[in-house]
Amino acid sequence: MSSRRSRSRQSGGSRISDDQINDLVSKLQQLLAELRHRRSDKASAARVLQETCNYIRSLHKEVDDLSERLSELLETTDVSSAQAAVIRSLLTQ
């Protein structure tokens, strides 16, 4: 992996092979299937990238919504008392 990274520095005819791209795209496809709990069917690279973009947008939207919800909750919550409990529950997940 690191060799790939050092080989494709900015500009100057860095030749990225189709195999590398295929490999990376299929990794993305697998990741998407894993994160969304969906089966990964055969899809074209363009389709995988489109799904990736859509997924990123939906994650951004979720963060926005959750931020709004949290800002409302901050009114009524004492975060200090919640802090330790939240960390503990996250660590045991």
Partner: protein, 168 residues
């Protein structure tokens, strides 16, 4: 220092690092509120602060070892400096958590040699969505995207558990 942060245990440590930082930031934001009824302006200010804190906490939990997190850290740093500077000059404008700022400012789409089947449109979209994506070579972009998505998903998971906990 971990050379390649793709293992499960590392994912968990990013989750913990993010959670700690984010909760710390939330505490600060919460303490700034007035005890009396907040105005709509206060509420929207707080919402923006929470969003910025979420992004900043994640970028800082990952650290500078990824292009996307580096980009985000620089963006947040320069924006907070600009805000400080602006407020000193009497400008009351606050930084919005404009995640897509990098993409919006740089309208230029760098043309690169691509395999046609990838779909130029999708790659360009992706470049605008991933922080720092505009300047990345394609293989780096795809690699960074995978990491970025994992971290975003973690961010959402943690934020959701905090919401659930506080709503109980």
């Amino acid at each position: 220092m971990n050379p390649h942060p793709s293992s499960c245990s590392n994912g968990r440590s990013i989750r913990t690092r993010f959670a700690r930082r984010f909760l710390r930031a939330l505490k600060k934001i919460g303490s700034k509120g007035s005890s009396s009824r907040p105005s709509p302006r206060d509420i929207s200010w707080r919402c923006r602060r929470v969003k910025i804190a979420a992004d900043a906490s994640m970028a800082s939990a990952v650290g500078p070892r990824r292009v996307w997190s580096r980009t985000m850290l620089n963006m947040l740093r320069s924006r907070s400096h600009a805000c400080l500077h602006a407020s000193r000059l009497g400008n009351s404008r606050r930084p919005g958590a404009d995640r897509h700022a990098v993409g919006k400012r740089k309208r230029l789409v760098l043309k690169r040699k691509l395999p046609n089947r990838l779909g130029l449109n999708q790659v360009n979209q992706l470049r605008r969505l991933v922080p720092g994506g505009e300047a990345m070579d394609l293989d780096i972009l795809l690699d960074e995207t995978a990491h970025y998505i994992k971290c975003l998903a973690t961010q959402v998971k943690v934020m959701r558990s905090i919401v659930d906990y506080c709503s109980a």
